[in-house]
């Protein structure tokens, strides 16, 4: 059976121990400011800070493996499209016969690629150091309803479960002689006999789970007891506000002419 969608990597770093909301604020503000910042120098700075945090959290190797797979094709595509075909291209960087590559396009592609790198880096830093259950628990402790908390928690589990079920149905149908591999038309024909049982069994499972949740008292109008206390401190609380406040400050600075 498949586990959850968690990317969490066990660790005892400062980031692992930080409050999930602090890490959430760090992630969101890093991404937002990377996209608000006007020049490559600022975005590079944010990227360096994120890399330092990733290294400190002990997840650099994991990040590099994932980031390379995501960023390499995107960066190459950006460099090609912008360098060769951006409407503002004027200054030639180099030419290979009739193919001309421009400096303006290279700068735009580099900035866009760095922003995406910051997004990927911040998101995975959060995912590697925070359990999904902790996110919803922290949000519920801040007033998110139990039902919404359950939705957040279960959403992260349901995809691998559904994939697992689809795999089992596919195996069962193959055992009965259904051809699921080969040409595109053959695969398309196999789609319906796979989808129908998947949808039906998902509906049955959903109904049974809804019953099981009632049987366990889910939805009782009682005051929910927090499952555990997250370590928090005045410094983290201040840091959260600083990080959140940095986003509107960056927007204001940008509007005021930050170059």
């Amino acid at each position: 059976m498949a586990g959850g969608l968690s990317l969490y990597a066990e660790g005892k770093s400062l980031l692992h121990r930080a409050h999930p909301l602090t890490k959430g604020a760090l992630t969101l503000s890093a991404i937002a400011i990377a996209f608000i910042a006007p020049s490559i120098g600022w975005v590079l700075g944010i990227g360096v800070i994120l890399l330092v945090l990733v290294t400190a959290a002990g997840v650099l190797r994991r990040l590099l493996a994932v980031a390379a797979a995501i960023l390499l094709p995107i960066t190459l595509l950006l460099l090609a499209v912008q360098g060769f075909a951006n409407a503002n291209n004027r200054t030639v960087a180099f030419a290979l016969g009739p193919i001309v590559y421009y400096r303006e396009g290279l700068a735009i592609a580099a900035l866009a690629a760095l922003r995406i790198a910051c997004l990927v880096c911040a998101t995975f830093l959060f995912s590697f150091t925070t359990r999904p259950a902790d996110i919803s628990e922290a949000l519920m402790q801040r007033g998110l309803s139990t039902r919404m908390g359950y939705v957040v928690q279960s959403a992260l589990q349901i995809i691998p479960q559904t994939l697992d079920m689809a795999g089992r149905i596919q195996d069962a149908q193959r055992a009965r002689g259904l051809e699921t591999e080969g040409s595109l038309p053959r695969r398309a024909r196999a789609y319906l006999p796979l989808m129908l049982p998947l949808v039906l069994s998902s509906l049955v499972a959903t109904q049974e789970r809804a019953m099981a949740l009632e049987v366990r008292g889910f939805g009782l109008p009682v005051k929910r007891v927090a499952r555990f206390e997250f370590a928090d401190s005045p410094l983290q609380r201040v840091l959260r506000w600083v990080l959140i406040g940095a986003v509107p400050a960056a927007i204001a600075a940008r509007l005021a002419g930050w170059r």
Partner: protein, 280 residues
């Protein structure tokens, strides 16, 4: 029908699911005393699972449908309490353990604590209950595992632990060992024996008649939504109607085929004694 000291009472209960042409259970009357361990058996579509759903209140609260008669659970009419309210005292273990778990927790011990947390039980109390329930069903060593990484048998134990952590007074078990190997089955039945000894009322749907006869002092045989026999296993499985429509334990069949005169044994120890005498 007297209601004192009863865990579960069905008074002339008939129930049909919404849009169903026929009743799933018809005119059932049954009284189960506090602390009893009752086995329910019968062929497919006998109404065994519906009996559990009615006792839990899921029928008709969840399924809708038409309910006639009265179901009294722990001295409260089933119409008075919702399933959620009843869940503090009554636990139902479904056939499929996969759908019994919340699907929202990433650790086995967190999953076991889901029910008590829903009931607002204090954190310390939840931790104590989780530890106790996991130890009872033998899954303490799996505490840190992801529930979805467990085998079918482990998942069934987890589902049972989740119910036990709620400390129910009445436990409804719909084929509790359907996913377990013989060793796992024996372990779960040991747990149930312990719970029965501690005074918990157990209603258990089970197809394995030998198991039923070994464990349950009382057996209810159902066919096509009706109770056709109710009593000690020796009595129930020596009735011709039960033998024909529900079946009989292997020891009973063996004794009958060997030409012994009734009453035929229903348990291993009785069969050993009977055949031992004959061989002597």
């Amino acid at each position: 029908m007297a209601l004192s000291s009863t865990s579960l009472v069905f008074e002339n209960v008939s129930y049909a699911y919404e849009e169903a042409a026929r009743e799933a259970v018809s005119d059932i009357s049954l009284s189960i005393a506090v602390g009893e361990w009752v086995g329910v058996t019968g062929p497919t579509n006998a109404g065994k699972s519906t009996l559990c759903l009615l006792a839990m209140g899921l029928a008709p609260h969840f399924f809708g449908g038409r309910l006639k008669g009265r179901v009294v659970v722990l001295e409260k009419d089933s119409r008075e309490l919702s399933v959620i309210q009843r869940s503090a005292e009554v636990g139902l273990l479904f056939q499929n353990p996969f759908t019994q778990i919340s699907g929202a927790r990433e650790r086995v011990d967190d999953e076991v604590g889901f029910g008590p947390e829903c009931h607002g039980v204090s954190r310390l109390e939840v931790a104590a209950r989780v530890e106790e329930a996991m130890a009872l069903v033998g899954i303490s060593q799996l505490a840190a595992r992801h529930p979805m990484d467990l085998s079918g048998g482990q998942l069934q134990r987890l589902a049972l632990a989740g119910l036990l952590a709620m400390r129910p007074k009445l436990l409804l078990l719909d084929e509790p060992t359907s996913q377990l190997d013989p060793a796992g089955t024996a372990a779960i039945f040991d747990v149930l024996a312990g719970l029965h000894a501690s005074g918990i009322t157990i209603v258990m749907v089970e197809h394995r008649l030998e198991t039923l006869c070994e464990l349950c002092p009382r057996v209810v045989a159902m066919v096509a939504g009706r109770i056709i026999a109710d009593g000690p296993p020796d009595d129930v499985f020596n009735r011709e109607a039960v033998q024909l429509r529900v079946g009989s334990p292997v020891f009973t069949r063996l004794a009958r085929e060997a030409g012994l005169s009734p009453p035929w044994p229903v348990r291993l120890r009785d069969a050993t004694a009977v055949f031992g005498r004959r061989l002597a």
